[in-house]
Symmetry: C2
Subunit: 240 residues, 2 copies
Amino acid sequence: MTEEYAPQPIGRLYGLGIGPGDPELLTLKAHRILTAVPVIAYPTMENGKVLARAIVAGFIRPHQIEIPMPLPFSVERSSQPYYDRAAEKIAHYLNAGQDVAVLCEGDPMLYGSFMYLFQRLARQFPTEVVPGISSTLASAAMLGAPITFRNDVLSILPATLDAANLRDRLVGVDAAIIIKLGRHFAKVRGVLEQLGLLNRALYIERATQPNQRILPITEVDPTKVPYWSLILIPSQTQPQ
Amino acid sequence: MTEEYAPQPIGRLYGLGIGPGDPELLTLKAHRILTAVPVIAYPTMENGKVLARAIVAGFIRPHQIEIPMPLPFSVERSSQPYYDRAAEKIAHYLNAGQDVAVLCEGDPMLYGSFMYLFQRLARQFPTEVVPGISSTLASAAMLGAPITFRNDVLSILPATLDAANLRDRLVGVDAAIIIKLGRHFAKVRGVLEQLGLLNRALYIERATQPNQRILPITEVDPTKVPYWSLILIPSQTQPQ
C-alpha cells in the first residue's frame, strides 16, 4: 500500500467592497462572505483615513481571525513594502486552506487599497472581487443630486492633482466629482471659482457615516476638511 | 364635540439602486426597504433594455402592489410624458399614505431613470435615495481589472456621443469606461483604434447577469452588442 499525498486545498481570496460608511450599504453578497470566512484582513492607518473595520464591526464574530494591515502614515513613504508584508500574511492563511476576505471602503477597484493585494496574490490564489457602493455615488444620493443624464460625461478627479491640471480637466465638464479633498480643499475651491463652477458645486463630508455633514461650499472651513469629503458638480442637462 | 380632521400621513418615496444584475448585489438597505414597502414601481420597455423587476423577482412578495411604468421604445420620442404619467400613479399611492419603492438598475443618480421621478416628486413627498452598485464598478470586478490608482482621473462616457466628441474626450485619458455600447460599438472601436487604445480596452456584456460574457474586443461582433455592455480602459499607473 502506498501512502497518498492529497494536495492541500488552498483558500479563496475575496476583495470585499463594503461601501462608504453605513453598514447597511454592504451588499447581500459582501455580508454573506464577510460573516462566513474564517479570516478577515483590513488596512489600518494612524491618521483616521481608514475606517474599514469600523464599518463592519457589528458583523464580525469573535471566532474570526483578524489581520490588521498597517499602512504608512506619510504619503512620502512608499506603501509597497507594507503591501508586501500584508500579502505574505494573507498568503499564509490561504496556503493553509483558509478563505480570507479583505475589507475595502467603497469599491475595491476604484482607488482601492485592495488592488495592490490583488496584483500580488490573484495569480497564485483563486480570487473574487465583490463590488461595493462608491462614496461618489452615495454622496449624490445623500445630496439628492442627480449626477448625469443621457449623453453627459462624468469625470472623477482626485483633489491631489495640481491646480493647472485640475483646471484643464474641469473646463467645460458636463459633471464632475472631486474626491479626497482634505488639505487640498482651498486649491480646488480656487479652481472652481476661476472656472465659474462654484455655484454648481455641492460639498459633503463622510457621506453615510454617523457624522456626515452637508454644507454650502462657501461656508466650508478649508482647515477642517477631512480626507473623506468630496465636491459634486451635477449635470445641468435638462430632461427631454 | 367637534369633529377632528387628522391630516392623513403621506407615504415615503424610495429610489432603490438594485445593482447591475446579480440579486446578491442589492445592498442590505435596498433589500430591507424592497421587502417592506406595500408598493413597488419599475420601468418597463419592449426592447429588453430594462431588467429591474427581473433582478429582484425572487424578493417580491405576492401581496405587494406593482406599478409597471412603460417607457417609449424609440429614443426619438420624448420620454417625459411617460414620466408624467408614472409620477401621477406613484403620487396616488403616496397621497394614500403608502410607501413606494422605485427600482433602478445600477445606481439611481448615475444615468438613472429614477432621476426623472425624483425631479417630479421629491419636493412634494419625503424621498430617500438608496445608492446601488453601478455596472461600471461591477464590470471592473468581473474583469479583474483595477480601474484607477492614486492621482488617476476616471472618465465615464456614453457611447452615444459622436465619434469626434468621443475622440476629444478620450485623448490622453488615465482611465475610462464607455457605457451603453449597443449599436454604437463599431464607432467606439474605431475611435479607440485611432487613439491607440484598443490594446488596453476590455469588453464585457451583461456584467453579473446570468448570461454575462467577457471576450477580447477584437472578437466582438458589432451587430450583436447589447445595450448592457461596456468597454473599460484601466489605468496604466504603476504602484509606487
